[in-house]
């Protein structure tokens, strides 16, 4: 158990609260930076390819965590913002726009789409907002499929390798470093935001709109801001996703992709930064694990077509029932158990009683 002796307000503000964190995150950074050099030749392309997907999903996970986990506004149509980002990137690249500018535009256009979707969020709450965003996702899926002059319809769009100031990112090692760098930037931006007034305003809106308002927080402004930011960052993830796949069709941005993103946040753990990354690892690793497991299952089960969605659904239900705090919550419990060993008590994380809230005033 570690006890911190605090003598300075900066200690509560800084990113790493103590030496242990510096050590472990430093170790993680070194591991991630040297990984492409350590992997054996045969495994390298496959592993790096998967990790690129993990990084891209983590970026989207951070974006969605900001919206669902911190602002408390559910979105079940986030794949649409990925689509906006991906298609903007494809179109801009085809027009010869340099990468730095095109990915900025991808973020910008997704952000604008986010503002438009955010408008109903000013009036809708909970499940109603979920349905509104769900329909948005559905509409945008149809639009990408039908607007053939721009999106190429179902025949899709090809992308060339990224040209970063004349340096071509043409294999998975280079893409690995690029997505990792962008993930770190996005993570830092969101963590910084959450330790500033804007981030606290988001949390305030999540927990009690009525008192957020009486603290001087402009609800409409901050909700729209959260939607726009989340959409813009998802747009960045979408642009990177398009480059990873090199070929995009509307089928990659369906309703199921949106739900997969929402699942990521729930399984990772609502309201935690780690949850965004853990959820992404989970979402990418699970299909691989199922493929491996198929070899050991009886043919009658392994041959079933809907095996993956079924297992996905079962796991999500399991998390909601038994571990609402997600993977990060589970990790937290394991850590506290080890830190306190042998004094851990069973009820330590039991949720406390919530006192009655005022009748909703509007």
């Amino acid at each position: 158990m570690r006890f911190l002796f605090k003598t300075d307000y900066n200690q509560d503000i800084r990113l790493f609260k103590h030496g242990g964190q510096v050590f472990w995150y430093g170790l993680l950074a070194i591991a991630l930076l040297t990984l492409p050099l350590c992997l054996p030749e045969g495994l390298r392309d496959y592993m790096l390819g998967q990790l690129v997907f993990v990084f891209i999903y983590s970026i989207a996970g951070f974006a969605l965590m900001l919206l669902i986990g911190f602002t408390g506004q559910i979105s079940l149509g986030h794949a649409a913002f990925m689509a906006v980002g991906a298609y903007t990137e494809a179109l801009m690249q085809a027009k010869g726009v340099p990468f730095v500018l095109s990915i900025t535009l991808a973020a910008l256009f997704s952000g604008i789409a986010g503002v438009i979707v955010g408008l109903p969020a000013l009036r809708l709450k909970g499940i109603y907002l979920g349905i509104a965003t769900l329909s948005f996702g559905y509409i945008s899926e149809e639009i990408t499929a039908r607007w053939e002059s721009v999106t190429g319809g179902n025949s899709g769009k090809h992308l060339k390798a990224i040209d970063l100031f004349g340096y071509r990112i043409d294999d998975d090692i280079k893409l690995y470093y690029l997505t990792l760098a962008l993930l770190v930037l996005v993570a830092l931006a969101i963590i910084n935001l959450m330790r500033s007034p804007t981030g606290r305003a988001f949390v305030a809106i999540r927990d009690s709109e009525i008192s957020a308002q009486s603290m001087g927080i402009h609800l409409a402004k901050y909700k729209t801001m959260s939607f726009a930011l989340s959409a813009a960052i998802t747009g960045i993830a979408g642009a990177l996703y398009a480059h990873k796949l090199t070929f995009i069709t509307p089928e990659q941005f369906t309703l199921l992709a949106s739900i997969e993103l929402a699942t990521l946040v729930f399984i990772g753990g609502l309201g935690s930064f780690h949850g965004a990354v853990l959820g992404a690892v989970f979402i990418i690793a699970l299909p691989q694990a199922i493929t491996v497991a198929k070899d050991y299952l009886p043919a009658s089960i392994a041959g079933q077509t809907g095996l993956q969605p079924t297992i996905f659904g079962l796991i999500l239900m399991g998390f909601l029932l038994f571990e609402p705090m997600g993977l990060y919550g589970r990790w937290l419990k394991v850590r506290v158990y080890l830190e306190l060993f042998p004094f851990y008590r069973k009820g330590m994380f039991r949720r406390q009683k919530a006192y009655m809230k005022s009748d909703r005033l509007k």
């Binding site: 007034p197 927990d207 957020a212 809230k357």
Partner: protein, 254 residues
């Protein structure tokens, strides 16, 4: 010109007249209490002052400026802070974070600065923290600084809510039933704090309260209401002796 005035305030919800023609003026530095039986319209007046409802009639003037017609989030910037009858804290945040949210109206940094966490943001954060620590010291909340609100007992939550209102740096503090749900000792502490807020911080307090012991101890003036209408106004003793007030609470003598 008074510090804070409600002028012929009325509000109707459909056919229900929740508040009818209520006028009162609060002087700077006094504790003004609104009492009345359930459904008298006390909390509705608070919600009118917080601009959560627009009044059907009448106006609210604060420091010579009419506030009716502004948006609810602007009230905090004017220097009016409030607490809620049933506690509206940010449950999944620590006490410290709750109090820092109370500093929101003092925010001077923009989104881009915050995403980069520039030195200006860091300085502002430390300034916010210092302001919050003063309130923590004032209300003896040091022990609970790092606790999650969701794990705190009811009595402490009441104090945290009071602290959060103080963090906004108000000139007028609206307290909606500060003693509801508190035991006698906690109510006693609350009375001390309200007195301190008045004497040490020099704030003006407008309060809705049921506990007559607390009311007569801290209030300078009392307004009694029943069914949305004003019954009596004066010192606590005068109001308690008023025949119409007794009738509203206990019924008519046969």
């Amino acid at each position: 010109m008074s510090f804070f005035t409600c002028d012929h305030l009325s509000i109707q919800f459909g056919g229900v007249k929740a508040v009818t023609d209520v006028s009162f003026a609060v002087e700077p530095g006094e504790v003004f209490t609104i009492i009345g039986p359930n459904g008298a319209g006390k909390t509705t007046i608070f919600n009118l002052i917080s601009l959560i409802y627009p009044p059907t009639n009448g106006r609210i003037v604060f420091e010579g400026r009419e506030i009716t017609g502004s948006s609810p989030h602007q009230v905090a910037n004017l220097g009016i802070a409030r607490t809620f009858q049933n506690i509206e804290l940010f449950e999944h945040a620590t006490v410290l974070q709750n109090l820092l949210i109370g500093r929101h109206n003092h925010r001077r940094t923009n989104l881009l600065q915050e995403m980069l966490f520039t030195p200006a943001v860091r300085r502002a954060e430390i300034a916010h923290r210092e302001a919050v620590e003063k309130v923590i010291d004032f209300l003896d909340l040091q022990r609970h600084r790092e606790s999650m609100v969701a794990g705190l007992p009811y009595g402490v939550r009441k104090v945290v809510e009071l602290a959060r209102a103080l963090c906004t740096g108000p000139k007028l503090l609206l307290l909606d039933e500060p003693s509801s749900g508190l035991n006698p000792e906690e109510t006693d502490d609350m009375a001390f704090w309200i007195e301190d807020i008045k004497k040490d911080l020099g704030l003006t307090v407008l309060m809705v309260e049921h506990d007559m012991g607390l009311v007569s101890r801290v209030s300078d003036r009392v307004l009694a209401m029943n069914q949305g209408e004003m019954l009596a106004m004066g010192t606590p003793a005068e109001v308690q002796a008023d025949a119409r007030v007794i009738e509203a609470y206990l019924g008519k003598a046969q």
